[in-house]
C-alpha cells in the first residue's frame, strides 16, 4: 500500500478519531492530570509510547493466537478464542508496561525520570485498551496498527496538553464555585471537541 494511505490514517487517528475528544477514552487521567502542563505532557508522551508498543503486540497475539481460525498453524483450524481477547489484551498491556518501565530504568534513566510515575497508571488507562479493541474491530493490518497506535497516542497528547494550557489560564478567571474542577473542565472539553470536529471534513 502507498504512503498516502498511512498519512491519511495518521491524520484521521490524531484529529478526527481523537481518543479523548471523539471517543471519550482516557477521560479519568485526562481530568485528573491536566492541572499542570509539565505533568500532562509527560503523561501524553507515556501514552504515545505505550500505545505504539501495545497495539502492534496485541495485533500479533490476536492474529496468531486468538482470532477465529488463528490456531490453524498449531493444528486447530476450528478454534475461536476471540472471547478471550479482553483478558489477554489487558494482561499483555500490563506486562508490556512493566517491561517498558524496566527497560527505560536500565537504558534511559533521564526518560524514566520523566515518564516513570505515569507508566503504572497507564496500564489501566481506557485509551490503551480502547486502542487495541478498535484495532480488532476495524481489522487493521500490522503496519496500519502501528500507525494507528502512534496516531491515537499523539491525539491524546495534543488534547491533554491543550487542556492543561487552558486550565492554566483559567486560574485567573472567576468561575462559579460549584462549577470549578470537573464541571468547567467538561464544558471546556466540549468546546475543544467542537473545534476538533472542524477537522472531520478532511479527507486526504
Amino acid at each position: 500500500m502507498n504512503m498516502e494511505h498511512y498519512v491519511s490514517l495518521f491524520t484521521k487517528s490524531v484529529f478526527i478519531d481523537n481518543m479523548i475528544l471523539a471517543y471519550f477514552l482516557g477521560m479519568c487521567s485526562f481530568l485528573a492530570i491536566s492541572k499542570k502542563i509539565d505533568t500532562s505532557i509527560g503523561l501524553g508522551f507515556a501514552v504515545v509510547f505505550v500505545l505504539t508498543v501495545t497495539a502492534p503486540l496485541n495485533w500479533i497475539v490476536h492474529e496468531y493466537l486468538l482470532m477465529d481460525g488463528a490456531l490453524a498453524w498449531a493444528g486447530f483450524p476450528d478454534a475461536d478464542l476471540s472471547f478471550l481477547n479482553y483478558i489477554i489484551f489487558i494482561a499483555v498491556i500490563a506486562t508490556a508496561v512493566q517491561l517498558v518501565e524496566m527497560a527505560l530504568d536500565k537504558f534511559s534513566p533521564a526518560l524514566y525520570n520523566n515518564l516513570g510515575i505515569f507508566l503504572p497508571l497507564i496500564a489501566v488507562n481506557c485509551s490503551i485498551l480502547g486502542g487495541s479493541m478498535f484495532m480488532v474491530e476495524r481489522k487493521y493490518n500490522f503496519s496500519e496498527t502501528i500507525v494507528y497506535g502512534f496516531g491515537s497516542g499523539v491525539g491524546f497528547l495534543l488534547a491533554i496538553a491543550a487542556m492543561a494550557a487552558i486550565r492554566h489560564r483559567l486560574r485567573y478567571s472567576n468561575v462559579p464555585k460549584e462549577l470549578r474542577g470537573v464541571g468547567i473542565t467538561m464544558l471546556l472539553t466540549g468546546l475543544l471537541s467542537m473545534a476538533f470536529m472542524a477537522f472531520s471534513g478532511i479527507d486526504l
Binding site: 475528544l21 471523539a22 471517543y23 471519550f24 477514552l25 482516557g26 477521560m27 479519568c28 481530568l31 485528573a32 472471547f83 478471550l84 481477547n85 479482553y86 483478558i87 489487558i90 500490563a94 489501566v124 488507562n125 481506557c126 485509551s127 490503551i128 485498551l129 480502547g130 479493541m133 478498535f134 474491530e137 462559579p176 464555585k177 460549584e178 462549577l179 470549578r180 474542577g181 470537573v182 464541571g183 468547567i184 473542565t185 467538561m186 464544558l187 472539553t189 466540549g190 468546546l191 471537541s193 467542537m194 470536529m197
Partner: protein
C-alpha cells in the same frame, strides 16, 4: 430487627447522591459518555455495569482474606475481566444488535475506574453483603448520571426518549429542528458538565 444495618444502608445509599462516583468522585467517565446518544444503550450499559460491579465486589470480598497484598491488583483485574467477558457473551447471544452498538465499550468496563476503585477501596475491607450493596449502589449512581445525560441527548438530538418520539410532527412542520450537535461528542461533554454543576449545587459541595 431491621433488615439492613445502618452501615449496609449507607453502603447502598451514599453513592446515589452524597458521593456519586461520576459527578463527585470523577470516576468511570471513560466508558460512560460514548453510550449516551440513546437512552436504550445507556440503560443496557448501566445494567451491565451494575452486574459487573455487584458480582466483582462480592467475589473480591469473599476472597479478601486469601488474596496476597502484593498481587491483589492483578487478581482484581482478572476477576473483573472474567465477569466482563461473561456479560459480553450474554449480550452477544441474546441482544446481538445492542452488542454491535455498544461495540468496544462493554470491554472497556474492565478499565472503568469505578469497578477497580470499589474493589480496592470497599470490597477488600468489608463483608460480602455490604460489598454487594455498595456495588449495586455505585452502579445505580453511575447509571443515574448516565441515563440523565442520555435523556437530554436523545431528546434534544432526536426528539425522542427511549426510542419513543416526543416532539410532535407539527412542531417540525413549523420549522423546529433537532440539535445535531447533541448527537456528536461535544454534546455529551457539555451536558455532563452542566449536570455535574447542578448536582454540586444541590449537594452543596465545592470542589478543590
Amino acid at each position: 430487627m431491621a433488615l439492613l444495618s445502618k452501615k449496609s444502608k449507607e453502603a447502598f445509599k451514599d453513592p446515589l447522591m452524597a458521593s456519586n462516583p461520576i459527578s463527585l468522585q470523577v470516576l468511570g467517565i471513560c466508558s460512560a459518555l460514548a453510550v449516551t446518544v440513546q437512552v436504550q444503550t445507556a440503560v443496557v450499559m448501566t445494567l451491565a455495569v451494575i452486574a459487573v460491579l455487584a458480582a466483582s465486589n462480592t467475589t473480591i470480598s469473599l476472597l479478601r482474606n486469601k488474596i496476597p497484598g502484593k498481587v491483589r491488583i492483578i487478581i482484581q483485574l482478572s476477576v473483573i475481566a472474567t465477569l466482563v467477558i461473561v456479560i459480553d457473551q450474554i449480550l452477544k447471544a441474546y441482544m446481538y444488535d445492542m452488542s454491535r452498538q455498544l461495540s468496544v465499550f462493554i470491554a472497556l468496563i474492565i478499565t472503568n475506574c469505578i469497578v477497580m476503585g470499589r474493589a480496592e477501596a470497599f470490597a477488600m475491607q468489608n463483608n460480602p453483603k455490604d460489598s454487594f450493596l455498595d456495588g449495586v449502589g455505585n452502579g445505580l449512581g453511575y447509571g443515574g448520571i448516565l441515563i440523565s445525560v442520555a435523556v437530554f441527548r436523545e431528546f434534544l438530538g432526536n426528539g425522542s426518549v427511549y426510542g419513543v418520539q416526543i416532539v410532535p410532527e407539527t412542531l417540525y412542520s413549523y420549522g423546529y429542528e433537532n440539535m445535531g450537535l447533541m448527537v456528536l461528542a461535544p454534546g455529551a461533554f457539555v451536558i455532563l458538565g452542566l449536570i455535574v454543576w447542578l448536582h454540586r449545587i444541590f449537594a452543596g459541595i465545592e470542589a478543590e
